[in-house]
């Protein structure tokens, strides 16, 4: 098989820009300028929505018509005072109850960075939405009410941030105005929180005393906290170092779509057979030897296609189309991996931590659909090993079931073997969701533990 690129597709040889060229890569935004994605969490009435409103308001990210709309609703609903929370609590049901019921996304930019905020609800009923908002975040802000201090919800949120491996945490001690800007109270809360920290897998934790309502230490430093060293919240968000957490050491390419133009008008495209998808880990180079799974066939990369022309190499998280040296039967759900020391795990017996997200509890022995990368297989839960107590992070052994918002370790058996990595080494190939058959509800988010058995490159037959 020999094809050369059609002239119109070969027009430019510019390096592939980091373009949001698929839904997948939009979710894990790649952008020419730095984007910090963060989520806010805390209990009901800890002031999350107010804090976000304050960040937008004080950073001058609000437009006049939005401020007018706020003023209009202030006149109708209460006392003429602008309610900053109304900026994010946009749904009728939220205004009725005065709480946030779903993840809301907000966008703002300063000259230093762009920001995507996932405003995640603190209400326990909606913890699943919090996991949703946190799964793509670089940083998590946990709000603590200075009057009540660290409570179960604060621990739960920090634990979730740790489980989801969010690298940065900010503990914003809010409503400091209501405790008379007491440094002692702030230290008490910090000490209390720090006792809990060794259990978490988060290296970067900052404590900032704020008043979201009055804007102290949110965008500008507060005159009430001369004892606080360090920048206000926005200053920290602008400067926190978000080193790339993409794993570049093992090439992983889940095949998303088979690209076969069948073009009658262009004979050069007639035999084209490309494999399109997003690189989930590592680097791929033209000529590199790769392994196609589950077939277990070794071949090499003949071409790396992009819309802007062929390239010699591409890396995570770019979206590309690969053309293989051999004409193999490869379809959506297959995975192409590099032939190096860092091989993926293989098998149909999986061990994972999951967050249960549905009112109907997890049932042992029930069949669910498991979506992992671009692959959906049937799976059955063979064992519920433990439920993790979020307030202590202690595992409690062998519960009968996992209910809504429970986190625990389970063992699963899948109908077909999966090729995967531990979540700690690769967020994309180490995560999955469970879908209930029939209702099609997304019932769980899963994070795989490191594999016991990996694909061994030296045992693979060179079939072709």
């Amino acid at each position: 098989m020999s094809i050369s690129p059609a002239p119109e597709l070969n027009a430019t040889l510019a390096p592939e820009p980091l373009s949001p060229s698929s839904i997948a890569s939009t979710a894990l935004a790649t952008h020419p300028i730095d984007i910090l994605r963060f989520n806010t969490c805390g209990s009901v009435d800890d002031g999350k929505s107010t804090l976000i409103g304050r960040l937008l308001y004080d950073s001058k990210s609000l437009m006049e018509d939005q401020i007018e709309a706020l003023e209009r609703s202030a006149d109708i609903t209460g006392g003429g005072q602008i309610n900053l929370a109304n900026l994010t609590d946009g749904l009728r049901a939220e205004r009725e109850q005065g709480i946030t019921i779903d993840v809301a996304y907000r966008y703002f930019a300063t000259p230093r960075r762009k920001f995507i905020i996932a405003d995640t609800p603190g209400h326990v009923q909606y913890t699943r939405n919090m996991v949703t908002g946190a799964s793509t975040a670089n940083l998590s802000i946990v709000l603590v009410d200075a009057r009540t201090g660290v409570i179960e919800q604060s621990r739960r949120h920090s634990c979730l941030a740790s489980l989801l491996r969010i690298p940065h945490l900010v503990v914003a001690v809010n409503k400091m105005d209501l405790v008379g800007w007491s440094e002692e109270r702030f230290r008490e809360i910090r000490d209390d929180f720090e006792k809990f920290l060794p259990r978490l897998d988060i290296k970067d934790v900052k404590f900032i005393p704020i008043s979201a309502l009055n804007g102290d230490n949110v965008v500008s430093p507060s005159p009430h906290t001369p004892w606080h060293v360090g920048p206000p919240l926005l200053g920290h968000l602008e400067t926190v170092h978000i080193a790339s957490d993409w794993n570049l050491s093992g090439f992983r390419f889940p095949v998303q779509w088979v690209n076969r133009p069948h073009s009658p008008s262009n004979p050069r495209l007639h035999d084209f057979r490309g494999l399109s998808g997003q690189i989930a880990g590592g680097v791929v180079r033209r000529g590199q030897k790769v392994l196609v799974l589950p077939a277990g066939i070794t071949t090499s990369i003949k071409q790396i296609w992009t819309y802007d022309g062929p390239v010699d190499e591409a890396f995570c998280p770019q979206s590309v189309t690969l053309v293989l040296e051999h004409d193999l039967d490869v379809s959506r759900g297959n995975m192409i991996v590099g032939l190096d020391d860092f091989m993926p795990g293989a098998g149909s017996n999986l061990h994972a931590k999951i967050c249960w997200m549905h009112p109907r509890p997890l049932q042992r022995g029930k069949k669910y659909l498991l979506k992992h990368t671009t692959n959906t297989v049937q799976a059955v839960v063979s064992e519920i090993e433990n439920r993790i107590d979020i307030t202590t992070l202690e595992p409690r052994s062998a519960p009968a079931e996992l209910a809504l918002n429970d986190i625990g370790e389970i063992r699963l058996r899948t109908a077909k073997p999966l090729f995967y990595d531990g979540y700690a080494t690769n967020r994309l190939t180490g995560s999955f969701i469970l879908i209930e058959q029939g209702t099609n509800a997304t019932v769980a988010a899963g994070m795989l533990l490191p594999p016991k058995q990996v694909v061994r490159a030296d045992e693979i037959d060179f079939v072709i």
Binding site: P17, S22, A27, D65, Q66, T306, A445
Partner: protein, 281 residues
Amino acid sequence: MREVAGEFERPALLFSGGKDSICLLRLAEKAFRPSDIPMPLLNVDTGHHFPELNAFRDRRAAELGAKLIIRRVEDAIAQGIATPAPGEISRNKLQIPTLLAAIEEFRFDACIGGARRDEEKARAKERFFSFRDSFGQWDPKNQRPEIWNLYNGRLNAGENMRIFPLSNWTEMDVWEYIRREQLEVPSIYFSHRRSCVRRHGQWLPVTDILPPKPGETVRELVVRVRTIGDIISTGLVESPADTFDDIIAEIAAARVTERGSRADDKASEAAMEDRKKAGYF
């Protein structure tokens, strides 16, 4: 987009010719080339569109070799699918039954749209894969959690998924992308002369559908559009911007949101939410 092509049987891409759907088309080209875009383009024409927009829409679809399906609100009214409220001239709500009828007619299971979460409060809560029941309804309290980049696209018969690849883009991102990719946009996005009347604090274009009311003065202004809706509800902004660079500079300095010029959103505090619950895209 490839995920949609991989997961669904009969997807469609909503293309109006507006700036967001122009970006969608380029993303589709990036996702699928050298293959053709493996789904038809669908547009619900209110009959109140700017003529420049429709001409652009038709030409772009032809250039891409894509199949363009147009369903008209006028036809839907004639067939009794859509019924205007007494005295209401806006076709905005009437797009809903027209779109749902098109989905049913072609048995589309997924529709990719160019909506962005930064546009409006109800949109801020939208998912990438947004589930709609068999009546086309969106239920903000019962959305599927979206974790990492794993999208649950499974449907039962009659249900539909709306897909929003630009969810995380802002108005500025859209223009920066259009500039970077040097994408063609309809001429009305650039500054031009037009007859306008001032109504409800906005400059509206004078047309056959929207003649000036007694006492209103028609003025010739140099204007452009920031967001395109119905010709009767699209506010024009006075602007000399006639290049991508000018537009980007103008947006950077803007003190009102793009939706600030859309009369249809001002009907009530939750106007968009109510339309979406009823099946609006």
